[in-house]
């Protein structure tokens, strides 16, 4: 065994190293059952969302509206539950409504981006404001608490076999995303579209439709993240989900998803989510205020994307050579 491919094992090694470091630094608070549950809760919300947004990343897009869409869907589910008098029926309708809102938002994103050929960041940057405003209008810019019925609170707080319920949601969504991306024809199309849209079109793929569907799915998982968050905190407000845009993008990026499209896997994204969860938890245990965490997360994005950009640059330089002087035959 002279040549062990370390890069293959780098992800688990990083996770283990992270846990070991935190255990050494905080031997009494980190490796406890209740703290692990905290980590898992944090991981699950990011994980649920990143499993959807990875579709958007793969087709070369981005979603800057994650945080406010998450908040908006949290508001929708809670308001609908109140509308139905805090009944279990209301929970069902509320969940459907929130997911529907997410899907609709994603559909609008996808349609505008593909029809008008406008950069995704700009469209989602604008809709971010729209979702924030809608949440504020609906809630009158107040916190809406929701402590009943049990069917709702259970979503975020129930435990099965000692693990919080949201982690199961994450697993289900991750498996679904993994299956779609890894196993189905549609998944293969997505990688093709992200890698070379023009060649995909010529290969008979409906690039526009595939792109729109990616945004729809991303909107749906963002909404589910919002529902889980609302249930966990038993309340909803416009600011529910704030900070998640960065967390989700960071999770994707450190999980090996390229923002240039075409590269990334669900296990990678889940790894990113777990790392983000551990990072959030670790900073918390080390008494770093959550307001300061942005420094670490921001730098992580810069380093990870900078690294990705560097590799891309090297590769394209090697490949294209003097592409500039190549003639473009009309």
């Amino acid at each position: 065994m002279k040549n062990i491919n370390w890069s293959k094992y780098s992800k688990p090694i990083i996770l283990v190293a992270f846990c070991v470091i935190l255990t050494i630094l905080r031997p009494t608070t980190f490796p406890t059952v209740s703290n692990i549950a905290n980590v898992l809760w944090s991981v699950s919300v990011i994980g649920i969302m990143v499993c959807g947004t990875i579709f958007v990343f793969l087709v070369g897009g981005i979603d800057l509206s994650i945080a406010t869409l998450c908040g908006f869907s949290a508001v929708v589910v809670v308001e609908v539950i109140h509308m139905f008098g805090d009944t279990t029926m209301g929970v069902f309708v509320g969940i459907l409504a929130a997911i529907g809102v997410g899907a609709l938002a994603g559909c609008v994103h996808g349609l505008i981006i593909t029809t008008f050929n406008i950069p995704a960041f700009l469209v989602t940057f604008a809709t971010q404001s729209v979702f924030l405003g809608l949440s504020m209008v609906i809630t009158n810019n107040k916190i809406v608490s929701c402590t009943a019925p049990a069917a709702f609170t259970a979503i975020g707080s129930m435990k099965i076999l000692g693990f919080p319920l949201p982690i199961y949601f994450m697993i289900v969504i991750a498996v679904l995303s993994w299956f779609v991306l890894r196993k189905t024809v549609f998944g293969r199309w997505i990688y093709a579209v992200g890698g070379n849209p023009a060649a995909s079109e010529i290969s008979g793929i409906n690039v526009k439709r595939a792109t729109i569907l990616c945004y729809v799915f991303s909107g749906m998982t963002t909404a589910i993240g919002g529902i889980v968050l609302a249930s966990m905190t038993r309340q909803a407000m416009a600011a529910t989900g704030s900070g998640y845009t960065n967390d989700v993008i960071t999770a994707g990026v450190i999980g090996g998803v390229s923002l240039l499209g075409g590269v990334g896997t669900v296990p990678g994204a889940i790894f990113g989510a777990v790392l983000m969860g551990l990072l959030n938890n670790g900073l918390n245990l080390l008494s770093v205020p959550s307001t300061h965490a942005g420094l670490v997360k921001g730098l992580v994005i810069i380093i990870a994307v900078g690294f990705d950009a560097m590799q891309h640059r090297d590769q394209s330089r090697k490949k294209s050579g003097f592409a500039f002087f190549k003639k473009k035959n009309a």
């Binding site: 604008a126 971010q128 729209v130 405003g133 209008v137 845009t245 307001t291 420094l295 994005i301």
Partner: protein, 340 residues
């Protein structure tokens, strides 16, 4: 003249949008009370447009090079906090404090420029990251009490606070910030239209390869645009803190959006290579009018967010369709006319 210049037409459209908005609010608000269209309120609108307008000068430069800067809001907070620290912990005179703040802004801008131009990180993601970095730094250096709880730092010494008021100090006078706005817009427009640097900004935004071939240092121009944005943002932060007479970590929470929205409405295309500072000024006035009108109508202020977002999308969609059309017309014309 067979047809109008694209730039002129786009300018007319943004002025038209502003006029329509003013007319709309005059009718809606004025119907009840006549509170909207008066000198005092119009001055208030200009004052509200000033800080986004000043920052908008830098943002316009960045967008003309086909970039974006999402970090200006957080930068305001960081610059504010840097000045608050100087204010609270040193005996340095106020002008030195202001200079320190401006230096901080320049550094922030330089950092943005570095990661975008040197590391080649896409602008929107790089400045999204620095948006949280700057905000976190503001929290880290914020003034805290004995228990580590963040306090807002009052900065009410009159040598500084006067910047937040009006010339002469009366409530009906012209605010200093408006004077600064005029200076920034005039200088910004002159630099853009009458210097090599300004021309280079357009060249970089429209066609990086061609710019390089013409001997333009593309990397340097892109960095400069970000550094200038840092400068403008720092000046914006000075006026904001002077007006509030304090610095808080929440400063500028809304400001990632305002200058970009102003630029987009004012006709600075995000694809780069078009638009100017005057356009952004019109856009900033549009946004300020919108906020003012919504307030005057006693509408839930949250509607602003919805309206702003929708307006940006509509303007951007319009620009996309319009650009496609103009490109096609240019092509067809070339094919038909050839010889004039």
């Amino acid at each position: 003249m067979k047809e109008m210049n694209q730039t002129t037409l786009r300018r007319l459209i943004s002025v038209g949008l502003l006029a329509i908005l003013i007319a709309l609010f005059t009718a809606m608000v004025g119907a009840g009370s006549g509170k909207f269209l008066n000198a005092e309120n119009l001055m208030a609108i200009v004052r509200d447009a000033s800080v986004p307008g000043i920052i908008g000068v830098g943002v316009t430069y960045v967008i003309i090079t086909s970039g974006i800067d999402l970090s200006t809001g957080s930068m305001i907070a960081l610059v504010g906090m840097v000045m608050a620290n100087v204010y609270a912990y040193t005996l340095l005179p106020i002008p030195v404090m202001i200079l320190t703040g401006i230096l901080a802004g320049l550094l922030c801008g330089f950092f943005n420029g570095f990661i975008v131009a040197k590391l080649e990180i896409p602008e929107f993601i790089g400045t999204l990251a620095t948006m949280s970095v700057f905000r976190a730094l503001a929290y880290i250096i914020a003034i805290k009490d004995a228990n580590g709880v963040i306090m807002s730092q009052p900065m009410n010494v009159s040598q500084y606070a006067f910047l937040g008021s009006t010339i002469g100090g009366s409530s009906k006078g012209i605010p200093y910030v408006c004077v600064a706005l005029v200076i920034f817009v005039v200088v910004g427009q002159i630099v853009l239209r009458y210097t090599r640097f300004g021309t280079n900004l357009y060249a970089v935004g429209a066609n990086k390869k061609a710019a390089t071939l013409s001997g333009i240092n593309v990397e340097r121009i892109r960095m400069m645009a970000f550094v200038i944005t840092g400068f403008c943002t720092a000046v914006g932060a000075v006026f904001t803190t002077a007006r509030l007479q304090s610095a808080t970590t929440a400063l500028g929470t809304d400001f990632e959006f305002s200058p970009i929205a102003a630029a987009v409405v004012g006709g600075v295309a995000l694809s780069g290579g078009s638009g100017d500072v005057v356009g952004t000024l019109i856009g900033a006035l549009f946004m300020a009018t919108l906020e003012n009108g919504v307030r005057k109508l006693d509408m839930n202020t949250a509607y602003q967010y919805v309206i702003k977002g929708v307006i940006i999308i509509c303007v951007v969609m319009f620009d996309a369709v319009y650009k496609k059309r103009m490109d096609r017309i240019a092509k067809e014309k070339g094919a038909k006319e050839g010889l004039e």
